[in-house]
Symmetry: C3
Subunit: 341 residues, 3 copies
């Protein structure tokens, strides 16, 4: 894929070499994210951070990533805009808003809306999540985290064994990650969920067609015995017809330190797209895991900044110029490497 | 008018030479808006972008204009502030907020409120719209667009013939534009609206007193036969007592490509303050006009950034220094000239 | 206290020398706040301005202070974030959000929440107000204002005589200011409130234990006869069980120019944490005092920017580098010294 000027709308756009390119650029961003250096390569550029659905962490992650490249951020954080209410088409909104910035990140509650918006935009658009459809930067940061964690163990993504745990039916992130894994070889996936919340058949079939070894399970402990990655997810209460229905599934498949010690390999990496539900009746990842060095959940969100910096740099074609416009950091820096978070 | 340090509250402040000055500076802003150059002339300056009424596009347009001059933006996007609820006077609010920035742009739902605010502010205030009263930057960007479009045809604003179409009673932008046209010579205006939604008499009278040739019509096709500009507006549903009442007028005076081809001069410029209402029962400007090169509606919003940059530069007295603090653009630039949007 | 990397959560952290250090740095910030110079010392740094409770002025004050040091601001302005609703712990939120910035300012409606957040944050956290608990920067800016106003008269904080007037029971700012005054010598405090709204006994006792001369009064005019500072506060209607209950106390202890002339010393400084309630039935500080040069209420908010700049500079250890990264201001500057507001 030619990244320069491209819209980033779906993980279906990515071939393996494209993922490699994003990850290579993300690696180069680490000194800036860790505040070892400052770069001003995008000084004067403007990100239109258009969140037509509230999401503090994803919005701030995109905005910070752009700031770390030296650019400015103009943004909206909810459906304040009544132009759509006044009958404006999404195409008109795109033509107008794309006149105010150099690149747009957009989140919108309706599936497909970001692609429609991008078609009319005069600047590149990054999908920040369009309803139940796509959230490509989340899938990329998950895979980037997997690559880094495995690399620390001298391993690669090829040959990976991963357990996906929880609400696999509604979890947008496991759907997207599953699609990305199709690009790799010798992958083994264990799908652990209640019978009613299994991964959609179409995704399972495309994995098997691509040669992925897929096991379906409705039990946690034995199933995570020899995986490299245990990827836990939250019961997506907001996608159920009632809280009562969601309650039927909450609190199953809890992972805590005792289970980890008894059943997992010593270096199994624990991941979660966050937020994890820490209320007593849910608690899918117990806080007693917080001291476990294999808990990678906060390294995931830190990596999200790197991946988003990489996408901005690629789309605006500055990936090779970042160091040229850099200077020292003058302030106190408490930040540790994501590897030690 | 001496722009340095001035509040920009009403188009009544502007003489013809003032408008000329704004437009001359706006022309100089184009390389920066088109990202051919970056300027840092306002590096360190802060805009207080105080929108006490939601308006994504106007808010972002002002904010981007300030960023493009190198300044920072602090902002509010709605009535989150409970200080007014707690009984604070608008004068106190102005004294406090003006301590946080170098210039303020303010939108407020009450007519006259921005002028009251400005009277107590310690920094220049730009009116971003105060209820049904004024929205001076919209009128200026409309006239700037007219000047540019006519200039492309070797024409001037003097001698202009313009049709204003739709809800002329409630449309704040046509009121303001009408007042600005008083400054020019040999203007012909055709007012096309339902009988119940005519332009207020006072404005018609002031136009005629200034020598404007005003025709009133309640029919679209013949009336636009030989105008230079067809300025369409939306039925301002929110100003009617009920949706039902607004429905009586919606969908009248629709302009589409077939009507344009049959009735208009070949180069008639189509304008609209946006948002246009593209719902089936309204659709005052059909989307089949989107390929018509005379459709200037997105050039209007792009020009808004130039006009707002010019006003900031004039009020903060940096209009002649913009180029001195400029440098090259290092990133991919997909933006085309507003003339080709 | 070692400021570098510290959380600023409570005024209880401060010893007299710490307060002196903050004030000395705040003094150095004045040329930047007055736009006589621009500094870029924090160019590339990001403030996470996390306001989980709406407060335009405090939020913008913190954001502007950071911009004035050259840094960028990413922010949230209300409870848009549903992560907490989805069961995320405040600790998880802190770990995630602290990955996006170099320092965080947080406001939250629950007492103690900011300290909990800080305990899990990987970057320094400044308390922007946590419910009825603490608002340390407000107390510091109040005392900084007192020091400046007294200094103009050749006086010091030691030996100060201050009247606190109004809703002393609910006013968080008088509680905090009272605690800060414990650090100074020969302080006299006159507490003027309705009997039902007296300062909490625990605070009165700690003042007396520290040697403060405390007088309790339920009458305004005689009690302010020879104080240096008259610190007025608003009836905190939102803390009463009903508007009716608050109405019982509103409009008592009104200070206006006539009372000031008749009862106060000629140079008594008038302060108020703002917003003042200017509605007829409240009006604790009449607007006829606005021309009185001893009215310091807008100097207070201006000083807030200086104090917040100082705290950022200290926590990020750039207090001694601010001038090294400074340059001239190129734009029109209408701002006057806070002393002349």
């Amino acid at each position: 894929m030619n990244f320069t000027g491209a819209h980033i709308l779906s993980i279906n756009q990515f071939q393996r070499e494209d993922v490699d390119r994003v990850f290579a650029v993300a690696d180069k961003m680490e000194p800036y994210a860790l505040r070892k250096r400052v770069t001003r390569v995008l000084e004067g550029a403007i990100l239109g951070n258009m969140f037509f659905e509230a999401s503090t962490r994803t919005r701030v992650s995109f905005g910070s990533a752009f700031n770390l490249l030296g650019g400015e951020v103009r943004e909206t954080a909810g459906f304040e805009n009544s132009a759509l209410v006044k009958g404006e088409s999404l195409q008109d909104t795109a033509r107008v808003l794309s006149g105010f910035s150099d690149v747009i990140c957009m989140r919108h509650p309706e599936a497909g809306s970001v692609a429609d918006f991008a078609a009319a935009s005069r600047v590149p658009v990054l999908n920040g999540g369009d309803g139940a459809n796509e959230h490509p930067t989340q899938a990329l940061l998950d895979l980037y985290t997997i690559r880094k964690e495995m690399s620390d163990k001298g391993r690669d993504i090829d040959g990976l064994s991963v357990a996906m745990i929880g609400d696999l039916r509604h979890g947008r992130t496991v759907h997207s990650l599953s699609k990305l894994l199709l690009l790799y070889n010798d992958i083994r996936v264990v799908l652990i969920s209640p019978k009613e919340l299994t991964l959609p058949d179409s995704i399972v079939e495309s994995m098997r067609a691509a040669g992925v070894d897929v096991t379906v399970s409705h039990e946690l402990t034995q199933s995570i015995a020899d995986v490299d990655i245990a990827y836990s997810t939250r019961i997506q209460e907001e996608r159920f017809s009632s809280k009562q229905e969601a309650d039927l599934y909450r609190g199953k498949f809890r992972l805590n330190q005792a289970i980890y010690t008894q059943y997992c390999q010593p270096n199994t990496v624990i991941m979660h797209p966050l937020p994890r539900d820490s209320r007593k009746d849910a608690n899918e990842l117990d806080s007693d895991l917080d001291d476990n060095p294999n808990l990678a959940i906060f390294r995931q969100t830190d990596n999200g900044v790197l991946v988003r910096m990489a996408l901005f740099a690629l789309v605006l074609d500055v990936a090779d110029k970042v160091d040229d416009f850099s200077h020292d950091v003058h302030w106190y820096n408490s930040r540790q490497s994501p590897s030690n978070s």
